[in-house]
């Protein structure tokens, strides 16, 4: 096993441990961590068995194998980022609705308070 393979595998494992720590301290939801765990697993797999990747790279016409790997990695990261922006958009809309509902609810309370005062005034 080459030095590079060892470095890559160790780096991936550290990344996985860090991600899992984030999940356990509730800073990262498990469902979003799966993407990163999947990516790390794929990278470890490729660094252990690089031959199939070199073969496919040649087949697809890449002059240099590492260009193929960068291409795949970039694509994967693009997909993750796109899905994150979709999630952020959904959260944004939900937050907007929550803020609006909260404001309308508080207003109803205020109005109930006022009409309650009016009722007391009438009874006096």
């Amino acid at each position: 096993m080459s030095v590079l393979q060892v470095i890559v595998i160790i780096t991936c494992l550290l990344f996985v441990i860090f991600a899992l720590k984030q999940v356990s301290s509730k800073k990262l939801l498990l469902r979003y961590s799966l993407l990163w765990l999947g990516l790390a697993a794929a990278v470890i797999l490729v660094s252990l068995f690089p031959q199939p990747v070199f073969f496919i790279a040649g087949l697809l016409g890449f002059g240099v194998s590492s260009n193929f790997i960068f291409f795949v990695a970039l694509f994967f990261l693009l997909a993750i980022t796109l899905s994150l922006t979709v999630i952020v958009s959904k959260q944004s809309l939900r937050l907007k609705r929550a803020v609006q509902n909260l404001a309308l609810l508080e207003k109803r309370f205020e109005e109930l308070d006022v009409s309650g005062d009016k009722e007391c005034e009438k009874k006096k």
């Binding site: 899992l20 999940v23 356990s24 509730k26 800073k27 939801l29 498990l30 799966l34 609705r97 929550a98």
Partner: protein, 241 residues
């Protein structure tokens, strides 16, 4: 001994086919109820209002974890010492509620209604595929926390004051039933299984506990493993936005 206040929390998402029967069964059993409407798109809320049921209307769908936690928060703020989770899909039997409540009164913090505790008990016991999943999760929880939970995906459960307080502070979002057991054990709470009978789903489609896919099992296993292996102090308030 003064009577302890008990609240039956009924989370419901698109349960217009059976919500009325479910709530009426709880009322007839003599318990206070709270329907937590989890952003239903059908007539669930309308039906509840029509029948004058006690409803907490979540205007967004939060999932079973968020809905049940909202119920715990209501129970806590309204002074209930015991609360019972009772699914809005008609699978749980109201006659089994006293059994769960009694176990909490005996001193257990989290009491889980289990279909598999007593092999003699009849009722609906789910498909073979799901039972395999449940057996796996049960074994996993036992290995990781040394606690016996024969029906870890059961949503039919009762909580005492300590459990309610814990779940108000933090409650898992994705796979609340098995994860919450691990969470409770880690915080030093006592768990007990009580035998219950469950019915087959009365209507509508299940959205809460998909056990059939291997993908789901992998995710739950990972979630439980992470939770069980992380060292924690007291209950941590969920990370603020």
């Amino acid at each position: 001994m003064t009577e302890l206040k008990v609240l039956v929390i009924i989370p419901a998402y698109n349960e217009q086919d059976c919500i009325v029967d479910t709530v009426e069964a709880v009322i007839e059993a003599g318990y206070d109820h709270l329907v937590v409407n989890d952003g239903s798109k059908d007539a669930t809320l309308e039906l509840c209002r029509m029948h004058g049921f006690n409803v907490l209307d979540l205007k967004e769908n939060l999932g079973i974890g968020g809905a049940v936690q909202a119920g715990h928060k209501y129970a806590h703020s309204h002074g209930y010492e015991i609360d019972v989770q009772f699914d809005g899909d008609g699978q749980h039997n109201a006659e089994c509620i006293p059994g769960l409540v009694d176990a909490v009164k005996e001193g257990f913090d989290l009491v889980i209604g289990s279909r598999f505790l007593d092999a003699q008990v009849g009722g609906f016991k789910s498909t073979a595929m799901r039972r395999a999943g449940i057996t796996w999760l049960s074994g996993l929880i036992r290995i990781m926390t040394k606690t016996r939970a024969t029906d870890p995906t059961s949503g039919f459960r009762a909580c005492g004051k300590r459990a309610i307080a814990l779940f108000c502070a933090e409650y898992p979002v994705d796979y609340p039933e098995p994860e919450s057991i691990v969470e409770a054990v880690q915080q030093g709470l006592s768990i007990k299984d009580v035998s219950v009978v469950m019915n087959e789903r009365q209507g509508g489609t299940s959205s809460i506990r998909p056990l059939s896919s291997v993908y789901y099992m992998v995710k739950v296993t990972l979630a439980i493993a992470i939770m069980a292996l992380s060292k924690r102090g007291g209950p941590q308030k969920e990370a603020s936005a």
